[in-house]
Protein backbone atom coordinates (compact mmCIF):
# COMPACT_ATOMS: atom_id res chain seq x y z
CA UNK A 1 0.00 0.00 0.00
CA UNK A 2 2.77 2.36 1.05
CA UNK A 3 4.73 1.54 -2.09
CA UNK A 4 1.66 2.15 -4.22
CA UNK A 5 1.12 5.64 -2.74
CA UNK A 6 4.74 6.52 -3.25
CA UNK A 7 4.63 5.35 -6.86
CA UNK A 8 1.51 7.39 -7.52
CA UNK A 9 3.01 10.47 -5.92
CA UNK A 10 6.19 10.12 -7.92
CA UNK A 11 4.21 9.58 -11.07
CA UNK A 12 2.18 12.74 -10.28
CA UNK A 13 5.42 14.72 -9.91
CA UNK A 14 6.91 13.24 -13.07
CA UNK A 15 3.79 13.89 -15.13
CA UNK A 16 3.47 17.49 -13.98
CA UNK A 17 7.16 18.18 -14.47
CA UNK A 18 7.15 16.77 -17.96
CA UNK A 19 4.15 18.90 -18.87
CA UNK A 20 5.79 22.01 -17.42
CA UNK A 21 9.05 21.36 -19.22
CA UNK A 22 7.38 21.09 -22.60
CA UNK A 23 5.22 24.14 -21.86
CA UNK A 24 8.31 26.16 -20.95
CA UNK A 25 10.01 25.13 -24.20
CA UNK A 26 6.92 26.01 -26.23
CA UNK A 27 6.65 29.44 -24.63
CA UNK A 28 10.33 30.20 -25.14
CA UNK A 29 10.08 29.12 -28.78
CA UNK A 30 7.05 31.42 -29.14
CA UNK A 31 9.10 34.40 -27.85
CA UNK A 32 7.11 34.56 -24.60
CA UNK A 33 10.21 34.63 -22.41
CA UNK A 34 8.69 35.98 -19.23
CA UNK A 35 5.92 33.41 -19.25
CA UNK A 36 8.51 30.70 -19.92
CA UNK A 37 10.38 31.89 -16.83
CA UNK A 38 7.20 31.70 -14.77
CA UNK A 39 6.62 28.11 -15.90
CA UNK A 40 10.23 27.34 -15.02
CA UNK A 41 9.62 28.72 -11.53
CA UNK A 42 6.65 26.39 -11.12
CA UNK A 43 8.76 23.51 -12.44
CA UNK A 44 11.46 24.28 -9.87
CA UNK A 45 8.92 24.04 -7.05
CA UNK A 46 7.81 20.62 -8.28
CA UNK A 47 11.43 19.55 -8.49
CA UNK A 48 12.15 20.80 -4.96
CA UNK A 49 9.07 19.13 -3.48
CA UNK A 50 9.93 15.93 -5.34
CA UNK A 51 13.28 16.06 -3.51
CA UNK A 52 11.52 16.70 -0.19
CA UNK A 53 9.33 13.64 -0.73
CA UNK A 54 12.35 11.48 -1.67
CA UNK A 55 14.19 12.66 1.45
CA UNK A 56 11.08 11.86 3.53
CA UNK A 57 11.05 8.26 2.28
CA UNK A 58 14.66 7.80 3.40
CA UNK A 59 14.17 9.49 6.76
CA UNK A 60 10.84 7.86 7.68
CA UNK A 61 11.91 4.31 6.69
CA UNK A 62 8.53 2.90 5.80
CA UNK A 63 6.48 4.70 8.49
CA UNK A 64 3.60 6.00 6.38
CA UNK A 65 2.12 8.42 8.86
CA UNK A 66 5.50 9.88 9.64
CA UNK A 67 6.14 10.35 5.90
CA UNK A 68 2.82 12.15 5.45
CA UNK A 69 3.56 14.42 8.41
CA UNK A 70 7.12 15.04 7.23
CA UNK A 71 6.04 16.08 3.73
CA UNK A 72 3.19 18.32 4.84
CA UNK A 73 5.24 20.00 7.60
CA UNK A 74 8.28 20.62 5.42
CA UNK A 75 6.31 22.00 2.50
CA UNK A 76 4.38 24.29 4.83
CA UNK A 77 7.63 25.54 6.36
CA UNK A 78 9.05 26.27 2.92
CA UNK A 79 5.90 28.11 1.88
CA UNK A 80 6.10 30.33 4.96
CA UNK A 81 9.21 32.04 3.62
CA UNK A 82 7.45 32.69 0.28
CA UNK A 83 4.48 34.12 2.12
CA UNK A 84 6.76 36.49 4.03
CA UNK A 85 8.52 37.44 0.80
CA UNK A 86 5.14 38.04 -0.87
CA UNK A 87 4.06 40.39 1.92
CA UNK A 88 7.30 42.31 1.61
CA UNK A 89 6.86 42.58 -2.16
CA UNK A 90 3.30 43.80 -1.68
CA UNK A 91 4.46 46.47 0.79
CA UNK A 92 7.03 47.70 -1.72
CA UNK A 93 4.69 47.46 -4.70
CA UNK A 94 7.09 45.04 -6.38
CA UNK A 95 4.80 43.51 -9.00
CA UNK A 96 7.38 41.16 -10.44
CA UNK A 97 8.36 39.64 -7.09
CA UNK A 98 4.74 39.47 -6.02
CA UNK A 99 3.83 37.54 -9.13
CA UNK A 100 6.74 35.13 -8.66
CA UNK A 101 5.80 34.45 -5.03
CA UNK A 102 2.19 33.87 -6.11
CA UNK A 103 3.37 31.28 -8.61
CA UNK A 104 5.40 29.49 -5.93
CA UNK A 105 2.57 29.56 -3.42
CA UNK A 106 0.07 28.35 -6.03
CA UNK A 107 2.39 25.48 -7.00
CA UNK A 108 2.83 24.62 -3.35
CA UNK A 109 -0.94 24.58 -2.75
CA UNK A 110 -1.50 22.43 -5.87
CA UNK A 111 1.12 19.89 -4.82
CA UNK A 112 -0.14 19.65 -1.25
CA UNK A 113 -3.71 19.25 -2.45
CA UNK A 114 -2.73 16.53 -4.97
CA UNK A 115 -0.61 14.83 -2.31
CA UNK A 116 -3.53 14.69 0.11
CA UNK A 117 -5.89 13.33 -2.54
CA UNK A 118 -3.40 10.66 -3.60
CA UNK A 119 -2.79 9.77 0.04
CA UNK A 120 -6.48 9.43 0.69
CA UNK A 121 -6.89 7.44 -2.50
CA UNK A 122 -9.16 9.90 -4.28
CA UNK A 123 -6.71 10.74 -7.06
Amino acid sequence: MCQDRQTRIFSYFDGEMEGLRSREQALAADERRDEAVFVRVRFNIFEAFHAVFSAGIKICRGDEEQLRQFFLTRTEQIAQSWLASRQKAMAHDDTYKLYLEDIKLEACADIRSAFMRIWEGSL
Partner: protein, 197 residues
Amino acid sequence: MTELEAVRLFKCLADKSRLQILKSLAAEDMYVERLAERLDLAPSTISFHLKKLADAGAVRSYRTQYYTMYSLCREIFDTRILDIICETSGEAQLQTQREAEYRRRVIDAFFEYGRLKSIPAQQKKERIVLEEIARAFEPGRSYTEREVNLILADYHDDFCTLRRDMVAEGILSREQNYYRLEDILSSAPASSSAPAR
Protein backbone atom coordinates in the same frame (compact mmCIF):
# COMPACT_ATOMS: atom_id res chain seq x y z
CA MET B 1 13.85 59.34 -24.53
CA THR B 2 17.06 58.53 -22.67
CA GLU B 3 19.26 55.59 -23.64
CA LEU B 4 18.12 53.69 -20.56
CA GLU B 5 14.46 54.31 -21.38
CA ALA B 6 15.03 53.12 -24.96
CA VAL B 7 16.71 49.91 -23.74
CA ARG B 8 13.85 49.32 -21.31
CA LEU B 9 11.26 49.86 -24.04
CA PHE B 10 12.97 47.57 -26.56
CA LYS B 11 13.43 44.84 -23.95
CA CYS B 12 9.80 45.17 -23.00
CA LEU B 13 8.63 44.89 -26.60
CA ALA B 14 10.68 41.73 -27.21
CA ASP B 15 7.87 39.50 -25.99
CA LYS B 16 5.04 38.09 -28.07
CA SER B 17 2.40 38.35 -25.35
CA ARG B 18 3.19 42.01 -24.76
CA LEU B 19 3.07 42.70 -28.49
CA GLN B 20 -0.35 41.03 -28.60
CA ILE B 21 -1.50 43.24 -25.74
CA LEU B 22 -0.26 46.34 -27.57
CA LYS B 23 -2.04 45.22 -30.74
CA SER B 24 -5.29 44.92 -28.81
CA LEU B 25 -4.78 48.31 -27.17
CA ALA B 26 -4.00 49.87 -30.55
CA ALA B 27 -7.55 48.95 -31.55
CA GLU B 28 -9.19 50.29 -28.39
CA ASP B 29 -8.66 50.84 -24.66
CA MET B 30 -9.29 47.70 -22.60
CA TYR B 31 -9.38 46.38 -19.05
CA VAL B 32 -7.42 43.40 -17.71
CA GLU B 33 -10.18 40.77 -17.86
CA ARG B 34 -11.07 41.62 -21.44
CA LEU B 35 -7.45 41.37 -22.52
CA ALA B 36 -7.17 38.06 -20.64
CA GLU B 37 -10.15 36.68 -22.54
CA ARG B 38 -8.93 37.90 -25.93
CA LEU B 39 -5.40 36.57 -25.48
CA ASP B 40 -6.30 33.44 -23.53
CA LEU B 41 -3.97 34.35 -20.67
CA ALA B 42 -4.56 34.50 -16.93
CA PRO B 43 -5.61 37.96 -15.65
CA SER B 44 -2.58 37.90 -13.33
CA THR B 45 -0.29 37.34 -16.32
CA ILE B 46 -1.95 40.20 -18.18
CA SER B 47 -1.50 42.45 -15.13
CA PHE B 48 2.16 41.53 -14.98
CA HIS B 49 2.67 42.38 -18.66
CA LEU B 50 0.72 45.63 -18.34
CA LYS B 51 2.88 46.69 -15.41
CA LYS B 52 6.00 46.08 -17.48
CA LEU B 53 4.54 47.99 -20.42
CA ALA B 54 3.53 50.86 -18.14
CA ASP B 55 7.01 51.00 -16.59
CA ALA B 56 8.49 51.20 -20.10
CA GLY B 57 6.11 54.06 -20.95
CA ALA B 58 4.25 52.05 -23.57
CA VAL B 59 0.82 52.06 -21.91
CA ARG B 60 -1.01 54.14 -19.34
CA SER B 61 -4.04 53.43 -17.19
CA TYR B 62 -7.07 55.42 -16.10
CA ARG B 63 -10.04 54.62 -13.94
CA THR B 64 -13.61 54.52 -15.11
CA GLN B 65 -16.65 53.81 -13.01
CA TYR B 66 -16.15 50.04 -13.00
CA TYR B 67 -12.76 49.25 -14.42
CA THR B 68 -9.14 50.34 -14.67
CA MET B 69 -8.71 50.85 -18.38
CA TYR B 70 -5.42 50.62 -20.26
CA SER B 71 -4.50 52.64 -23.32
CA LEU B 72 -1.58 52.79 -25.70
CA CYS B 73 0.92 55.69 -25.30
CA ARG B 74 0.77 56.53 -28.98
CA GLU B 75 3.39 59.29 -28.76
CA ILE B 76 6.03 56.67 -27.84
CA PHE B 77 5.23 54.66 -30.95
CA ASP B 78 5.22 57.75 -33.16
CA THR B 79 8.93 58.16 -32.35
CA ARG B 80 11.22 57.00 -35.15
CA ILE B 81 13.81 54.41 -34.15
CA LEU B 82 16.42 56.53 -35.93
CA ASP B 83 15.55 59.47 -33.64
CA ILE B 84 16.14 57.25 -30.61
CA ILE B 85 19.51 56.08 -31.96
CA CYS B 86 20.63 59.61 -32.86
CA GLU B 87 19.65 61.13 -29.53
CA THR B 88 22.58 62.39 -27.49
CA SER B 89 23.09 60.14 -24.52
CA GLY B 90 25.21 60.33 -21.40
CA GLU B 91 27.65 57.90 -22.97
CA ALA B 92 27.84 59.95 -26.18
CA GLN B 93 28.58 63.10 -24.18
CA LEU B 94 31.28 61.23 -22.31
CA GLN B 95 32.80 60.08 -25.60
CA THR B 96 32.78 63.66 -26.94
CA GLN B 97 34.40 64.87 -23.74
CA ARG B 98 37.13 62.20 -23.97
CA GLU B 99 37.74 63.13 -27.60
CA ALA B 100 38.05 66.84 -26.74
CA GLU B 101 40.51 66.05 -23.95
CA TYR B 102 42.60 63.98 -26.34
CA ARG B 103 42.65 66.82 -28.88
CA ARG B 104 43.70 69.23 -26.16
CA ARG B 105 46.62 67.01 -25.17
CA VAL B 106 47.78 66.62 -28.80
CA ILE B 107 47.59 70.37 -29.44
CA ASP B 108 49.46 71.17 -26.21
CA ALA B 109 52.15 68.67 -27.13
CA PHE B 110 52.74 69.89 -30.70
CA PHE B 111 52.22 73.63 -30.52
CA GLU B 112 54.40 76.09 -28.69
CA TYR B 113 53.53 79.79 -28.65
CA GLY B 114 51.32 79.27 -31.68
CA ARG B 115 53.95 77.48 -33.80
CA LEU B 116 54.14 73.84 -34.63
CA LYS B 117 57.12 72.20 -32.94
CA SER B 118 57.07 69.26 -35.35
CA ILE B 119 54.68 67.61 -37.77
CA PRO B 120 53.21 64.55 -35.99
CA ALA B 121 54.19 61.23 -37.54
CA GLN B 122 50.98 59.57 -36.40
CA GLN B 123 48.19 60.26 -38.90
CA LYS B 124 45.51 60.67 -36.21
CA LYS B 125 47.56 63.32 -34.40
CA GLU B 126 48.54 65.08 -37.62
CA ARG B 127 44.87 65.31 -38.55
CA ILE B 128 44.13 67.09 -35.25
CA VAL B 129 47.04 69.48 -35.79
CA LEU B 130 45.97 70.24 -39.37
CA GLU B 131 42.38 70.86 -38.27
CA GLU B 132 43.71 73.31 -35.72
CA ILE B 133 45.77 75.15 -38.36
CA ALA B 134 42.74 75.19 -40.68
CA ARG B 135 41.13 77.68 -38.28
CA ALA B 136 43.43 80.30 -39.79
CA PHE B 137 41.57 79.99 -43.11
CA GLU B 138 38.32 81.78 -43.83
CA PRO B 139 35.46 79.54 -44.96
CA GLY B 140 34.25 80.18 -48.48
CA ARG B 141 37.30 82.23 -49.52
CA SER B 142 39.66 81.18 -52.34
CA TYR B 143 43.38 81.31 -51.67
CA THR B 144 46.28 81.27 -54.10
CA GLU B 145 49.08 78.82 -53.37
CA ARG B 146 51.29 81.70 -52.28
CA GLU B 147 48.67 82.87 -49.78
CA VAL B 148 48.31 79.35 -48.42
CA ASN B 149 52.08 79.03 -48.07
CA LEU B 150 52.31 82.33 -46.21
CA ILE B 151 49.66 81.24 -43.72
CA LEU B 152 51.23 77.82 -43.21
CA ALA B 153 54.74 79.22 -42.91
CA ASP B 154 53.58 80.96 -39.73
CA TYR B 155 53.11 77.51 -38.24
CA HIS B 156 56.02 75.52 -39.59
CA ASP B 157 58.97 75.93 -41.95
CA ASP B 158 57.92 72.85 -43.93
CA PHE B 159 54.78 74.56 -45.25
CA CYS B 160 54.83 72.45 -48.44
CA THR B 161 54.26 69.25 -46.46
CA LEU B 162 51.51 70.94 -44.43
CA ARG B 163 49.80 72.16 -47.60
CA ARG B 164 50.01 68.79 -49.34
CA ASP B 165 48.77 66.94 -46.25
CA MET B 166 45.87 69.36 -45.77
CA VAL B 167 44.76 68.62 -49.32
CA ALA B 168 45.29 64.88 -48.83
CA GLU B 169 43.21 64.98 -45.64
CA GLY B 170 40.41 66.82 -47.43
CA ILE B 171 40.80 69.89 -45.20
CA LEU B 172 41.73 72.08 -48.15
CA SER B 173 40.50 71.53 -51.69
CA ARG B 174 42.50 72.58 -54.73
CA GLU B 175 40.92 73.56 -58.00
CA GLN B 176 42.61 75.43 -60.84
CA ASN B 177 45.46 76.58 -58.57
CA TYR B 178 43.10 77.98 -55.95
CA TYR B 179 42.63 76.53 -52.49
CA ARG B 180 39.46 76.57 -50.42
CA LEU B 181 38.72 75.45 -46.91
CA GLU B 182 36.45 72.40 -46.85
CA ASP B 183 33.61 72.28 -44.34
CA ILE B 184 35.37 70.03 -41.84
CA LEU B 185 35.62 72.30 -38.84
CA SER B 186 31.96 72.00 -37.93
CA SER B 187 32.56 68.31 -37.12
CA ALA B 188 35.84 68.94 -35.26
CA PRO B 189 35.42 69.94 -31.62
CA ALA B 190 36.48 73.53 -31.05
CA SER B 191 39.68 74.03 -29.15
CA SER B 192 39.30 76.48 -26.28
CA SER B 193 42.95 77.42 -26.40
CA ALA B 194 43.80 77.34 -30.06
CA PRO B 195 47.36 78.38 -30.85
CA ALA B 196 47.60 82.15 -30.84
CA ARG B 197 48.50 83.76 -34.13
